[in-house]
């Protein structure tokens, strides 16, 4: 399967586009490398090399005098896209696409928007906050406050993240909002336990995908990616903690 230089470059584009979308959507680093290698192997015998970190992808095919780099600036979680590209890569391995068709298919996935609407996500965050409250031995009286605090907290996060493109800042402010709402509920006598309400409502902000990915990347031997994702998760947790600490310092009056 000798490809001409032109075709090899096209193949490189296909692999990089898939890798870029996977990384942006919250896939593990080793999955990105694996998918790119498999995609390329479906069309060429030449060995491929990829180096993926959470902020960039380097990819090259042997005997082609070109190596490409893609910079990744923003990352969010859209696991639906990961599933779609995974399926596409399976199909490509079976040989059911030409390079051009694969490129078009990837563009289609890129343009279509598979995410749930924001309103549904906010509702989901609200309901999960209430459920987590019960799981952490909260009382049913606190269910509604946690539901409301969680919903408003997640909307605040989306709104702040839309305004300022710094994720940690948005998380910190959202946690602050959650703390204040929980405090208002407890002071007004509509909620019993400030602690469980806050813990339940903060859960939708917890960096779950990052934690799991960091561990899986570390196990797979991707030390650079694993460590940097771990630090990102830690920073997120720290941002949430800071927001809550403001409210706590005010309530418990420790920071005199």
């Amino acid at each position: 399967m000798g490809l001409s230089t032109q075709e090899s470059l096209k193949l490189m584009d296909v692999c990089l586009l898939a890798g870029e979308m996977l990384l942006r959507s919250g896939a593990e680093t080793h999955r990105v490398e694996d998918t790119m290698t498999r995609m390329a192997a479906a069309y060429t015998d030449a060995a491929t090399h990829s180096f993926v970190t959470p902020t960039g992808i380097v990819f090259s095919i042997d005997k082609v005098d070109s190596t490409k780099l893609v910079r990744i600036l923003d990352r969010s979680t859209n696991l639906h896209r990961v599933v779609l590209i995974n399926q596409l890569s399976r199909e490509m391995s079976k040989g059911s696409y030409t390079i051009d068709q694969a490129y078009e298919e990837l563009q289609k996935i890129k343009q279509s928007n598979q995410g749930y609407p924001l309103a549904i996500k906010i509702a989901a965050a609200a309901i999960s906050s209430g459920c987590f409250l019960i799981m952490y031995n909260g009382v049913w009286n606190d269910f509604l406050p946690a539901l409301i605090a969680g919903g408003i907290g997640y909307s605040a996060f989306s709104w702040f993240h839309f305004l300022v493109k710094i994720k940690f800042f948005a998380e910190c402010l959202a946690a602050l909002v959650i703390g204040i709402i929980a405090l208002i509920f407890v002071k007004a006598g509509w909620g019993q336990s400030l602690d469980t309400i806050i813990i339940g409502s903060v859960m939708p902000l917890v960096p779950g995908v990052l934690i799991t990915n960091a561990i899986r990347d570390l196990i797979a031997g991707h030390l650079v990616a694993g460590l940097s994702k771990g630090i990102e998760a830690f920073l997120t947790a720290f941002a949430i903690g800071t927001g809550i600490a403001f409210v706590l310092a005010w309530t418990y009056g420790g920071m005199s």
Binding site: R31, L79, Y116, A124, M135, Y154, I215, L218, A237, L248
Partner: protein, 147 residues
Amino acid sequence: MIWQALTSFIGSLMFCIIFNIPKSSLFKCGIVGMLGWVVYYAMSIHQINPVMATLFGAFTVAIISQIMARLYKTPMIIFSVAGIIPLVPGGMAYDAMRHFVSNDYATATSLAARAFMLSGSIAFGLIFSEVLNQLSRKTGNHKQDNN
């Protein structure tokens, strides 16, 4: 116990919506989250060390996620994410911070250390299941699968 199972199912399912998991997988993710939490909860009410309970919870989640990933030919992360979230020691980390803020550093550091241990046990639960997965691949006649 029934309420615990039910709320963990709904909670995990809702979490999947936040992470944009396809509709067809939502129910399965809820099941994974529920089983992981039920294992953890059953162990913790029988006075078993929370570190062990979290380890087994995470292990259960990872094993079931791997099985589901093979069955439905979807990435494993789809299932494991939903199940891991409830096990994350958010409550303990919160408690630690509360003590830090009220200048009770002795209690705070010990709580923080425990929260750290719990996170470590989540990691080990995932690692053990990965090891088992690779062992079964090497010994059995499983086809190489990119899950």
